[in-house]
């Protein structure tokens, strides 16, 4: 609880610093995303009140940019590269397998809060296509059958 209070205090600081500059909503949302790891309803209401804008505006910007998430992200963020090379090499099948194994769609987080599944643009590791990252770790030349094993590693 005190942790949350601390975070909202940080957000208030950001709001008071940025409030008077035009287009303050975007940097405030970015700050909020980094403080809370997501921009949840409570955070968005706080920003709306703090900046004197409507919740509708805050939500509109938050859903426009992929950099904002509405729910807290999982402990492990699995990013599946859907760049051209990975796609040609079967990234969609890898993604489908991940979605099936985790029981979430792209952008979703598992109920246990462990995994968030994301689709990304080119990660720049085309030689390893198809490639995924789990937080900082990179897995390349994947086939769907590799997925259960990778997930199991992080469940331990």
């Amino acid at each position: 609880m005190s942790d949350m209070r601390e975070k909202f205090a940080q957000l208030d600081l950001a709001i008071s610093e940025l409030k008077d500059q035009p287009g303050a909503l975007m940097p405030v949302l970015q700050k909020a995303q980094s403080i809370f790891g997501c921009v949840s309803l409570d955070v968005q209401k706080h920003i709306a009140e703090g900046l004197g804008v409507t919740l509708s505006e805050v939500y509109g910007v938050a859903t426009f940019y992929a950099q904002f998430t509405l729910e807290p992200a999982g402990k492990y963020i699995i990013s599946v590269c859907l760049g051209t090379a990975c796609y040609v090499k079967g990234a969609q099948k890898v993604l489908d397998k991940l979605s099936e194994e985790l029981g979430v769609k792209v952008g979703g987080t598992t109920k246990d809060g462990l995994f968030t599944l994301q689709a990304t643009r080119c990660l720049g590791a085309c030689g390893l296509a198809p490639v995924i990252t789990v937080n900082e770790e990179v897995y390349g030349r994947l086939v769907p059958e590799d997925i259960p094993g990778i997930i199991a590693k992080y469940k331990e």
């Binding site: 409507t54 509708s56 505006e57 805050v58 939500y59 509109g60 426009f64």
Partner: protein
């Protein structure tokens, strides 16, 4: 003339002030450029690209936002321009449900107009994926069908900039972009005030009022005594639905049409407007003399009342406790008129024809009724009345003029002008002057409160007592007035606020005026003229001269502002949480 810019549009020399857009310059040269997202004074964002023109630049430019420059050569009608516009509309059609025949805006749709004017030959040229949207009809006032939305954002501009409500906006990005409320909320779960200005600006059928025609037809077939009343603004605009020029008052024809539709009696909300004035002005005098809460703010406009309750609940004590006129009439039908006729009020129904969608919500307020009966049973908009008249096969334009029914049918000029911004204030002043000074008011016109300025202010001398007043229309303007009071910058005694810009004549339930017409005509001013003309032509122009209202007090209510009046004609308000819908 130093800041005049000379340019050529389609070979025509045009001279316009700097800062003018190509679209406005072309209009002055009588060159028509099609538009969709553009709406004068409301939305100017260059988003839809229907208005693209060749300005000699690398790419075609949106005329609605592109400023003129000296020596500019504009071409509005080249093959490339025509192709681009056509493609834009064809792409919009690919996400549109194209169910024109059953659409409320059939034959009154800006997208249909564009298809016709641009010569669209295949309404499914870009066949592909289309998202099916659920229709949001939970609100008692507004229905949103995003299967028809063209993403022009005119409703967003009206809701945010004009009304300062801001409960809708674009959500998501790209193909999945949708105009809706945040966090998956239905409109009914937001701080929407139900004003319907979003409907008034929608170019297509994505927004409409919640239907009450079926319910009214049900009442008419029920065997009950069904009484109808019409607000002042309805008569100033209904004619437009039947091809009559804007600003034509159609009071007599409207009454005749309502009788032909089967209503037992046709009463006039103007009658109740006169009643409202006596109660409201008396309340004002009482507040002034007893150091009550000031400024007192009018409470006739249900959109404004809900806005106050939701966004400025600290001003609730300032709201007049008077019910709005049609609610007063409903209450009088089911008490006074029931007693006079010996009809059981439980066998009576009251239908209100209003220029307003927020009235649909107001009629359902539990505090506006008694003994298990609502004061008003159903509310239809001016547009819905026009639909009923058409469905009944009534030749409206050729109807004879008929009069309202007694004893809730007489009205003075003061009641008539209620439909325009400043009208309630002027009507109240006509009464308050005489009530306070005891002298007869010779000149009844208070010019200072007329017109369409955002906020009108005046100091009125009432025989030594100076009344500081303000009039605001559109809730964004109302918000400015309230903020200036909170900041201690302004001190008023009495304020009139109407939710919709221009007042009820341009309410959210009125006939829709397309963007190209709005570009050349001030709709509020034209319709208000009909009301001020009717006022000027009345023998009695002060509410206190209404003989039927005098009889009401003598025979039934007793004193103005007395106990019985308080019980039947006054109400109370509830603070609302704008975030109530999100847990």
């Amino acid at each position: 003339m130093a800041d005049m810019i000379n340019l050529t549009i389609d070979g025509v020399q045009v001279s316009v002030p700097a800062g003018t857009t190509v679209l406005e310059a072309a209009r002055q040269a009588h060159i028509h450029i099609p538009t969709l997202c553009y709406l004068k004074d409301v939305n100017k964002i260059g988003a839809c690209r229907v208005c693209v023109v060749d300005v000699g630049a690398r790419a075609l430019q949106a005329a609605c936002v592109y400023p003129v420059s000296e020596g500019m050569v504009v071409k509005t009608n080249t093959p490339a321009v025509r192709r681009a516009r056509k493609a834009v509309v064809e792409l919009l059609l690919s996400i549109h449900d194209r169910k024109c025949l059953s659409c409320t805006r059939n034959n009154n749709c800006e997208l249909q107009d564009l298809c016709r004017d641009l010569g669209i030959e295949d309404d499914n040229r870009f066949a592909g994926e289309r998202i099916e949207y659920e229709i949001d009809d939970l609100s008692t006032s507004v229905v949103r069908d995003n299967n028809k939305c063209v993403l022009c954002r005119r409703c967003v501009a009206a809701c945010h900039a004009q009304q300062h409500v801001g409960v809708i906006g674009p959500v998501g990005r790209g193909f999945t972009t949708e105009i809706t409320s945040p966090w998956g909320l239905k409109l009914a779960q937001t701080g929407c005030v139900g004003c319907g200005q979003c409907i008034a600006v929608c170019p297509v059928g994505a927004l409409k009022e919640k239907d009450s025609i079926h319910a009214v037809n049900g009442l008419l077939e029920s065997g009950k005594h069904v009484y109808v009343q019409t607000a002042p603004a309805v008569r100033a605009a209904l004619g437009e639905e039947f091809g009559l020029p804007m600003g034509t008052p159609v009071t007599g024809k409207m009454v005749a049409a309502l009788r032909r539709l089967g209503f037992e009696k046709v009463f006039d909300t103007d009658w109740a407007a006169d009643l409202t004035i006596l109660e409201e002005a008396t309340e004002l005098v009482h507040r002034i003399q007893n150091k009550g809460v000031l400024p007192m703010i009018t409470s006739c406009s249900p959109g404004w009342v809900k806005y106050c309750e939701t966004y400025n609940s600290d001003f609730i004590p300032n709201l007049s406790s008077c019910k709005s006129p049609h609610e007063m009439l409903g209450a009088m039908v089911k008490s006074y008129y029931a007693e006079k006729t010996g009809i059981n009020p439980k066998d009576m129904s009251v239908v209100s024809v209003m220029p307003c969608t927020a009235k649909k919500f107001e009629a359902l307020r539990p505090e506006l009724g008694h003994d298990g009966m609502q004061d008003v049973d159903e509310v239809i908009t001016t547009r819905e009345l026009a639909k009923m008249i058409r469905a009944a096969g009534i030749d409206f334009a050729n109807l004879p003029d008929e009069d309202f029914d007694k004893v809730l049918g007489e009205s003075t000029g003061a009641g008539v002008i209620f439909g325009a911004t400043g009208g309630v204030m002027e009507a109240a002043l006509r009464y308050a002057y005489e009530a306070i000074t005891g002298k007869e008011l010779d000149k009844v016109e208070f010019e200072a409160v007329r017109g369409l300025e955002n906020v009108k202010e005046a100091s009125i001398d009432l025989g030594g007592l100076t009344l500081n007043i303000a009039v605001a229309h559109g809730t964004a303007n109302a918000q400015k007035v309230l903020d200036s009071i909170r900041a201690g910058e302004k001190h008023y005694d009495f304020i009139e606020i109407m939710c919709c810009p221009g007042g009820c004549v341009t309410g959210g339930g009125q006939p829709i005026v397309k963007a190209d017409v709005r570009a050349g005509v001030n709709v509020s001013a034209e319709r208000a003229k009909a009301l001020y003309t009717e006022d000027a032509g009345k023998a009695r122009r002060k509410s206190q001269e209404n003989e039927e209202i005098k009889a009401l007090y003598t025979d039934y209510l007793g004193e103005i502002g007395g106990e019985r009046a308080h019980h039947l004609l006054h109400t109370h308000y509830t603070a609302r949480d704008k975030y109530a819908g999100v847990k």
